[in-house]
């Protein structure tokens, strides 16, 4: 009846969208400041994990279904490798993004964007996957158990 975690739930409900938004900022601002696919992926995964910690694993599995994980981690690697193969097809070396546009520096921009997106997909999915795999194995922890 009386929820001892009401403060945590209210505050994190406000924070979780901001964390996910910050992940996207880190992702797309990686060219200009510190950050990139790895950091953004981890931050995105941590927003899902925070949701799972506060609202329980079943709720998190509804928000971020486990089947997204297999798609996400594969898609990321395929996107990265596919960028390399695409630069092959356009006549450059593997992962030489200069061939993507008339101006090689623009091509580098597109290539870096695609590759970082692939890293984001794989890292975020794998982090959530590891959390789900371990987290699903035990019974719910009671408040006194710690």
């Amino acid at each position: 009846m009386h929820d001892p975690h009401v403060l945590l739930r209210v505050v994190s409900k406000f924070l979780i969208p901001l964390i996910a938004l910050f992940a996207l900022y880190v992702q797309f601002h990686g060219d200009y400041g510190p950050g990139g696919g790895f950091q953004a992926g981890v931050i995105l995964a941590s927003s899902v994990i925070l949701y799972a910690l506060i609202f329980g694993l079943p709720a998190a599995k509804l928000a971020f279904p486990p089947r997204w994980i297999r798609i996400g981690m594969t898609l990321g690697v395929l996107l990265y490798g596919g960028t390399g193969v695409f630069s092959f097809i356009l006549g450059g070396e593997f992962l030489n993004y200069g061939v993507f546009a008339h101006d090689p520096s623009h091509g580098q921009h597109y290539g870096i964007l695609a590759v970082e997106l692939g890293v984001l997909c794989t890292v975020a999915s794998v982090m959530v996957a590891i959390f789900y795999a371990f987290g699903s194995r035990q019974a719910e922890t009671s408040n006194e158990d710690w």
Partner: protein, 241 residues
Amino acid sequence: MMFSSNAHILPIQILDYGLLAILVVVAFAIVRMRSLFAIVMLQGVYSLVSAAWFVSLDAVDVAFTEAAVGAGVSTVLMLSAMLLADRQSEPVPMSRQIGPLAIVIIAGAAMLYAVGDMPAYGSATSPANSYVGIDYLARTAEEIHIPNVVTAVLASYRGYDTFGETVVIFAAGLGVLLLLGLNGNAGRWDAQPNGQRVSNTSAPTMRNVHSPLESSESPQDASETAKPLKTDVKTKGQNHA
């Protein structure tokens, strides 16, 4: 900046030494403790302090990664793994501590011996600042047109390395999913952390009790349990070891 003579010590140097001292204290605390929960938390503290140290060394990208991965996600992953184990680690008998102690002393002595050959901090002639590194710094501005050289090196000049790292992370996720299953229900296993019995039969059914909406995914779960039969032996062996 750090080369100033001993006559006046910069505040940033005091900060560096302070952070390194905290790291040493936390490391000893981790070694001495028996409560796994406190150890996992102190590992997070260790990562956060080293992230602060990296910021003071102007390695912002490394600090960002350390804070996000080391202090954030790996702490949570260690906690979720810890829930399957006892809360306290058993004390190790003195006879089994001599070998590791000898290895640590020899490795530490070798590292201290090598310190003399290292270039001074920020030295212009150090390997990091002389060969290919200086080339990346000079060429990024005209070839890639992005201000953050770290991103240019990571994603373009060293694209092969980053591809390898992504595949390593993919392989790690694949390994965990094959051994534990997406919902932690792969293989046959049982454990008794803190006298509470958990097994492969309790984990998935628990989930169904808590959320009936999840049952729409049951065909997929069935294939999850059926597939990784090969991991049975490994999972069982780990739990009994």
